[in-house]
């Protein structure tokens, strides 16, 4: 499988990739200028929009991309604002000094809190962050000596840029910061980190098996998001000149969430729309002030129901058809690199594996091994424990009984993403593609091994360094080549949902194979495929084996199994009942009994 390489100059690629960024800025300027000139939109709405846009961007990265809804983000915003005010009062620090101190404080807080809270699932995470938010609000309101309690603090330092007036200086600082942070956020969102985040939102388990260190990435993005909130808060304090607890209450939280959802979560740029429209509303609804709270609540409920993806979501859907790019060029390298062989030792060795669920013995003292570049099939009646076995091997379920040696290394008890990085990839019985990513993006996650989730990688991707961009193009081309191999080149930009079941399973195999694994675990990949598709699948699997990949597959189709396997392992009631070549297993009495019930 040799292809030719074509590559675009990084800057051109960057401009093309971030056309949305420039379009947003241009569009905003185009619409806002006449509105400001004619007095409908006030200058200060524009400026405060910048402040809140930063906050909403941070929230979007956290929720729109990663799926974590933090009700407490207003707390980081509050700390950002109050730290600047308090440090100015106590130490006379300037806006810059106070802002940096606030940022540091918030990052540390987020990293600690994140480590604790991010282990919680959905609703509980929301509650935990809400509790944090209330706590901070309570501290602000009652810690009179430092924060001024109910009265708040004044005299927040102003910024000055050379000869310009404080107002103009601040406006420039705010919008400069906003544009810069917008740039960083968009780059991040479109990079491998963005894909990894959306993978986490789609399916955490599947993401982990695609080499993504879920907990670490969540913590880092939580911290980044808090950082955005911090900067936003500091600028907010500087702009208003005072800080007061009312700006950081539950209502304020709701306003921000409303901006996020109204504009469109999951887009980054949607936030700008949401922020501007909702900042304008209070001015438009003057006499309605008494009903403003009620109005926001109703609006929020309506948005959640009718337009969960917001305005940006609607715009995106319209442009989806136009934005479809042809599957990119082909790559100048063998598609599959034969993985390094580690001596004569079996690639996988399972020793006395066991697992119980309550009183049920799902897997009972199973031992087996698979040699390099062999195809071994795992068969058994429904409910025999096959998928559980695969889950234990891949780390999805923690192994507590027995040992697994992968390429000579003891991987017992390791996390699934660690095992994946060592070279093990898998598919799932009920296919688990990333629904928030397109077809080609799914395969790209496989190629690039997700993201290592480190702060360094976040920086590199946010800054969109040339090397990162070249890498991205290479990965995209590689993924396109994989899609071409399975005949899905034209469906590259399709959302996963529109593909029929059989094709989705094929994409899942491609995603796993694209990660260049040493061992590939396939869970009922042939289920639901017609005869032709099964033949193609068999050929594909054989090709992978010939390239040096070891394969363990679970299958119900006996013909398929007998045809393709070098070895067959039969289990029933969690126990190994037979093992050997297809011919041997066919004759085995215990196997007959298990299947035919004699």
């Amino acid at each position: 499988m040799i292809f030719r390489r074509t590559m675009t100059f990084p800057l051109v690629y960057l401009l093309r990739r971030n056309s949305v960024y420039f379009a947003t800025i241009a569009g905003y300027a185009l619409i806002a200028t006449p509105l400001v000139a004619s007095g409908i939109l006030y200058g200060d709405v524009i400026v405060t929009s910048g402040i809140f846009f930063i906050l909403v961007m941070g929230l979007d990265l956290l929720y729109g991309y990663t799926g974590l809804l933090s009700f407490g983000h207003i707390a980081f915003f509050a700390i950002g604002a109050y730290t600047v005010a308090v440090l100015a009062k106590l130490l006379g620090l300037s806006l810059l000094g106070g802002g940096l101190a606030a940022l540091l404080l918030n990052l540390m807080l987020a990293l600690t809190l994140g480590r604790i809270l991010l282990r919680l699932s959905g609703s509980y995470f929301m509650l935990g962050t809400l509790a944090f938010g209330i706590m901070v609000h309570a501290v602000i309101t009652t810690w009179y000596p430092v924060t001024g309690g109910d009265a708040g603090l004044g005299d927040v330092p102003q910024a000055r840029m050379g000869e310009l007036s404080p107002t103009l200086s601040l406006a420039i600082i705010i919008w400069g910061t906003t544009l810069a942070l917008f740039w960083l956020a968009m780059n991040l969102a479109q990079s491998r980190v963005g894909r990894a985040l959306r993978a986490i939102r789609s399916d955490e388990v599947s993401a982990a098996c695609s080499c993504i260190p879920v907990a670490r990435l969540k913590t880092n993005i939580f911290a980044l998001s808090a950082g955005y909130a911090s900067v936003s808060g500091s600028l907010f304090a500087a702009y208003n000149g005072v800080v007061h607890p009312d700006s950081f209450s539950l209502s304020a939280l709701l306003d921000v969430l409303l901006m996020l959802f109204f504009g469109g979560e999951g887009t980054i740029w949607g936030g700008l729309i949401g922020v501007t429209v909702l900042r304008t509303l209070p001015d438009l609804s003057g006499p309605l002030h008494a009903g403003k709270i009620l109005f926001s609540g109703v609006l929020f409920a309506v948005i959640i129901y009718l337009f969960p993806r917001g305005i940006a979501g609607g715009i995106r859907r319209i442009f989806a058809h136009l934005a479809r790019r042809p599957a990119a060029a082909v790559l100048d390298a063998a598609l599959v690199r034969a993985p390094a062989i580690v001596g004569d030792a079996p690639v996988l060795k399972a020793e006395n594996i066991g697992q119980s669920f309550g009183g049920l013995r799902a897997v009972d003292d199973v031992s087996f091994s698979i040699d390099h570049a062999r195809i071994k099939s795992l068969i058994g009646p429904n409910g025999a424990g096959k998928s559980t076995l695969l889950n234990l091997i891949s780390g999805v379920q923690t192994l507590r009984e027995g040992r697994i040696l992968f390429r000579g290394e003891d991987v017992t008890g390791r996390r699934p993403d660690a095992i994946a990085r060592l070279g093990m990839q898998r598919t799932f019985q009920h296919e688990r593609l990333f629904t928030h990513l397109s077809v080609i993006e799914n395969v790209m996650v496989g190629c690039e091994h997700g993201s290592d989730g480190s702060a360094r990688e976040l920086f590199r991707c946010a800054l969109a360094l040339p090397r990162t961009l070249r890498e991205e193009q290479r990965v995209r081309a590689q993924a396109a080549a994989w899609l071409a191999t399975i005949g899905l080149a034209e469906r590259a930009d399709d959302p996963v949902a529109v593909l029929p079941h059989g094709l989705r399973k094929l994409v899942e195999v491609a995603r796993a194979a694209a990660a260049q694994p040493s061992l590939l675990l396939l869970d009922e990949t042939a289920a639901g495929l017609n005869d032709n598709e099964k033949q193609s699948l068999k050929a594909f699997i054989r090709r992978l084996r010939d390239a040096g990949i070891t394969i363990l597959l679970i299958e119900h189709d006996m013909e398929f199994v007998m045809d393709i396997s070098d070895q067959v392992l039969v289990v029933n009631f969690g126990r190994r009942i037979a093992e050997g070549s297809p011919a041997e297993v066919r004759q085995d009495k215990a196997v007959l009994a298990a299947y035919l019930g004699t």
Binding site: A497, L592, A594, Y595, G597
Partner: protein, 245 residues
Amino acid sequence: MRALLEIEEVWAAYEDGAPVLRNVSLRLDAGELVAVLGANGAGKTTLLRVVSGLLPCRRGRVRLTGEDIAGLLPHRRVAMGLVQVPEGRQMLSGLSVEENLLLGGYVHRHDASALARGLDEVYSLFPRLKERHRQLAGSLSGGEQQMVALGRALMAKPKLLLLDEPSFGLAPLVVTDTFAIIARLRDQGMPILLVEQNAKKALEVADRAVVLRDGAVVATGSAAELLASDEVKASYLGGLPGAGG
């Protein structure tokens, strides 16, 4: 004579798009046991979900004794006598055996004496359940859970029984017992729609059968015909001895 259950040209899909059932038609007459066979992912469980109302059909009709039940929510269908024993038996594990059985008779809850009689009948059919009637359903063995599942269904006084893979995850001996009970129900005149992966067991007890593949019907006929046919053998007995593979 009007069929008891009529599934006409049904197309169904899950929320996210691709069709799982394609133009499936099937009829079941009073007193019949019809088996639905096919490999994993063929759409068998989906078919039962559509019949029970857990999944809507995009196109086509489902009729019970001539009445279109397409719009009805699951609990209404149960009240009409359409009762399903779901795949894996789905015990209410935190509740006792007796509570599970009682909930089986939920649609008749206002008739206390009928429920009491129903409970007696189930206990006489499954004496083991009477012994363990206070035990938590989640702590029972597979075979005992199977008894609870069937007993629950019987408590609802079904006019048509839908069985989803009764052999799933059970020991061969238990499977034999289960099918003996199914045969007995059939002999008593209970119409049954049986979804099964174990083709041999299913065809031994069925009158007619239908084979699904990729959500479409690929073969239909009497149980005897299908037992002899190569199509069925190939699709999933193939390769194993005793099936001519």
